[in-house]
Each structure stands twice: as C-alpha cells, then as structure tokens.
Amino acid sequence: MVLPLVYAINNAFKPLDEIFLFPPTLFVRNPTLNNFSDLLNLLGESWVPFSRYIFNTVFITLTGVIGHVIFASAAAFPLAKHRFPGKKSLFQVVVLSLMFTPAVTAIPNYMVMSWLGLIDTYWAVIVPAFSYSLGLYLMKQFMEQMPDALLEAAKIDGASEYRIFWTIVMPNVKPAWLTLVILQFQILWGSDGNGFIYSEQLKSLHFAANQIIYGGIARAGAAAAVALILMSVPITLFVFSQSKIIETMASSGMKD
C-alpha cells in the first residue's frame, strides 16, 4: 500500500541521474532540493504567473467548502429534526444520488451551465459543489443523534428555528463540519475545472501541475516535486481532522 507513496516522496528528492538509474531504486541516495528549484524556475517561465493558479485553486476550494458546509447543514437540520410533508421522499432522492457518479450528468450539466452563463467562470465549479450529496447525507445522519431535549429547551425560550440552527445545532456538529470540509476539499483541490473553464488565467493548480507531470523526461524531477506538494496538503488536513472524521462516520450508516 505505502510503497508507491514512499516512491513518490523519494522521487521528489532524487537528482535526475538517480531517477533514471538502472536498476531503479526505491529510496533516494543523495537527497537534493534541485527538483524544487527546477520547479520554481519552471513556474517563473509560465505564461500566466503561477501565483494565479494557486489563487484560483485556493479561491475555488475555500468558497466551495464554506458554501457547501452552510447549505448542506441548513438542509440537513430540518431533514434530521423536523417533521414536514415530503421529508422522507426528499431524503430518498438524495440517497439515490449517492448511487451514481457525476459522469452520468456531465452533458446536460454543461447545457445547464451555459444557460446560466456560468461557463468559463469559477462558479461553474463552485456552485454545483454546494449541493454535493454525500455531505448532506453525512451531516443529516450526524444531526439525528443530537438530543432533542437541547432543541426543545431553546424552543421554550422562544428561539426561532433559524436561531436554533445557528446557535445550537451548528456548534454541536463540529465533527461533521470537518468531515464535510475534508471531503469537499479533496474534490475541489484536485479539480481541473471539469471542462467548464477555458481561460488560462482561471485554470487550477491541478491543471498546471498536470502540464508539468505529463511534460516528459526532462521534467521528471519537477513532476515528482509538484506531485509531492499537491498531495501533502490534503494529507496534512486529514492528519489533523482524523478523529473528528471517524466520529462522523460512526453515524454514516444507512438505516433502510
């Protein structure tokens, strides 16, 4: 399981003659930071300033993650704790949508995006991310475990449903938030624009990295370096949020 990752990490520190050594080695012998300085040089030459790619990805990821957490939590609260007509069937549809991938809807999605005038904007990636269904599902399952007494007490004190949601529910479901954050982060951080973004200055870090990765032999060192940088971000995030995520997953089960 780990060997390919170890290989990926080691490659990033190998001098070029060691990457192309026969027989190939797993571990680096003379570690060097040359690949990273090569990468910096490459980035300096890129047509669009590289900081722009970083900004694009960070902007898309942050906006998408924050919006998703708020929208999905707001919808999860009534689904978990209220009684109203249509509740069951609405949730059923969300569960059904876990059972197919976005590939199924790629073509009509493009048409919807162009009707809405979102093609070639950040929003083409961000807005659909708000309604990612796994997030709503996990949040709703987690909220169901909250004791009703907590909500009843607030209601007796005269708090509105919105106030209850914001001041009582949200602070109590922090583990679930973090889970939504990391799942959504992973998707948006690795997004290449889903075919909706054409302008070079709007393209993502992932897209720019792929240009380097598939750039051939001369770029092998820089490719290993950029891959290491890209993967270290979600992994670090996971290290810090692991226990909260496991806590959320404990309530992830499907109860018919």
């Binding site: 399981m1 780990v2 390919p4 990457i19 050594l21 026969f22 027989p23 190939p24 929208f71 707001a74 919808a75 009534p78 689904l79 109203f84 007509p85 509740k87 609405l90 969300v94 059972m99 197919f100 991938t101 590939a103 199924v104 809807t105 073509i107 009509p108 999605n109 048409m111 919807v112 807005v127 659909p128 309604s131 269904s133 709503l136 509105s160 449903e161 919105y162 949601f165 990391i182 690795g190 992932h206 792929n210 990765i213 891959a227 890209l230 993967m231 979600p234 996971f238 290290v239 692991q242 226990s243 496991i246 806590e247 997953m249 404990a250 992830s252 089960g253 499907m254 109860k255 018919d256």
Partner: protein, 301 residues
C-alpha cells in the same frame, strides 16, 4: 379528499421554516443533479449536436449502441470486469483492514488509518504508477524483473493489451480504501462491547462466529453505506484508465463506459448518443446498488 388537502396545506404552512432552510440546497440539487438526469434521459431519444435543436429519433440511439457499436460492447465488458473484481475485493479489503486496525492501540490505529487512506486523498498521485510501469528499463517493474533475469527486455506495460486491464485493476484497488473504509473503522468502534460478553455466554466459540453473529449485524448500516460508495466508484472507472492507458487506449483495451461517454460527449459532440450511454450507465449503477442493498439486509440473519 378536500379535507385531506386542507390538512396537508396547513401542515405545509406550519413547516414553513423547514422549507426555507431546505430551499437553497434543494434548488441547487434540483438544478445540478435532478434536472440533468431527466435531461439526459430525454436527450437519449434524440439526435443532438449542440448546434441544431434536438431531433426525436426514438430508440435509435439504443439500438445503435447495442447492435452496431462494437466498442461499446468492449466498454461494457471492461466496466463489468472492473466492477466485478474491484467492487467486491475493495469492499472486503476495506472491511478486513478496518477490522485489523481496530485491534491496534489508538495511536497506531490513527497512523495505519492514514497510511491506508492516503492514496485515495492524494489527488492525482496515481500518476506515480506511470513511473512504476514505465515502458523503459528505468521503470521499477521492468527494472526489477530485468535484474532478476525474468525478463530479457523491458515490456511496454501500458501499451500491450494483455497487461493494461490488470494494471488498471491494481491501481484502482490501491485507490479504493476511501470513505467506505473510514465508515467501517468508525462502525467497528461503535459495536456495543457488552454484546460480545453476552455472545460468549450464549455459546459463541470463535472469532468467526463473533464476526458473523455480532460484529457484522451490528454494523449493517455502515456496511450498506460502504457498499454504495464502493459500487459506485467501481463502476465509474475512467480517470485512472485515461491517465495510465491514454485516451483512447491501445485498441480500446482500457475503454470503459465512462471513457466511451467522454469520447462521444466531448470529442465527437454526438450528445444524443452520449446521453444514451449515460442513461445506460445510470441504470446499471442504480440497479446494482439497489440489488446489493437488498442482499446486505440479510447479513447475519
């Protein structure tokens, strides 16, 4: 009847706040998920090239898909092959690894969870397999086999039909310990400890009986959730195929339903035909999931 309606209407009015909270999410969900599924089904009965208005042609796309399109049959065959192997294997692997990890001390457990989960969150790091299975002698696989004297000359792993499928399956399995795996780890931690003691009194003799009669039924909800995740991913193989085998792959050896869909949708702009592929994929994914859900309800009964 009118009575029932007025009751419903008053109920709906009373739940105003619930609908307001739901609305932002549900509107987006309807626009970007529900509407596209319906549109895809409608478009699959038309000829549509993005320029002219769609023209209704009945079942023609489907008859073309199943009777005339040889490559689609390869794609179906490959997709089913991937799903039948990676689906169950990854599902069982998720559970077995979670089960083993569960016995460890918390610190070690956290570390092992990270190790197993890392590939699936590292984004496009699977490109590293391009280097492992590189066609020259600097690739790890060729280098190793050449050094051991098993091979006399390097193999073009990703360009020869008989190896491509196996390699994609390996990489897909490597990536497959994802959300389902985390759900199983969490599920195992929530199993009520006292059930094991009660089980011992009731005559459960070994770990296997404990697993079948206590652990699995206790975490049935997580098992069902994990199944949905693993089935859906195993039927949607495309990124790995495109990254490793190229697009299109040599002699379509690594064509899957999704890459076929991408081919017609984004290269040939035959949107009606591509929609019929999407609809077939949708039906396969949904029905497989629903059948497996039925089966899993029986675990431990």
């Amino acid at each position: 009847m009118s009575n029932w309606w007025s009751l419903k209407v008053s109920e709906i009015k009373k739940s105003k706040h619930s609908y307001v909270l739901l609305a932002p999410y549900m509107i987006l969900f309807a626009v970007f998920t529900v509407l596209p599924v319906i549109m895809s089904m409608v478009l699959s009965f038309t000829y549509f090239n993005m320029l002219e208005f769609p023209k209704f042609i009945g079942w023609h796309n489907y008859s073309r898909l199943f009777l005339e399109d040889d490559i689609f049959l390869i794609a179906i065959k490959n997709t089913i092959l991937f799903a039948v192997i990676t689906g169950p294997v990854s599902y069982i692997a998720c559970f077995v690894f979670a089960w083993i990890i569960n016995e460890l001390s918390p610190r070690l457990r956290a570390f092992m969870t990270l190790v197993f989960y890392a590939p699936s969150i590292s984004g496009n790091v699977f490109f590293i397999w391009l280097m492992i299975f590189s066609g020259d002698r600097y690739g790890i696989m060729n280098g190793l086999l050449l050094k051991l004297g098993i091979l006399m000359e390097p193999i073009q792993w990703l360009k020869e039909e008989q190896y491509i499928l196996a390699i994609i399956i390996i990489v897909q399995l490597w990536l497959s310990l994802g959300t389902g795996f985390l759900a199983f780890i969490a599920g195992l931690q929530t199993v009520d400890r006292t059930l094991y003691e009660a089980g011992a009194v009731d005559g459960i003799r070994n770990r296997w009986q404990e697993l079948w009669y206590i652990t699995l039924p206790s975490m049935r909800p997580q098992l069902m959730f994990g199944a949905v995740i693993q089935i859906t991913t195993s039927l949607a193989v495309s990124d790995v195929s495109i990254a490793l085998a190229g697009f299109p792959s040599v002699n379509y050896a690594a064509e899957t339903i999704v890459t076929h869909l991408i081919d017609y949708g984004t290269t040939r702009f035959e949107m009606g035909f591509a929609s019929s592929i999407a609809t077939v994929l949708f039906i396969i994914m949904l029905s497989t999931n629903l059948i497996v859900q039925k089966l899993l309800r029986k675990v431990g009964e």
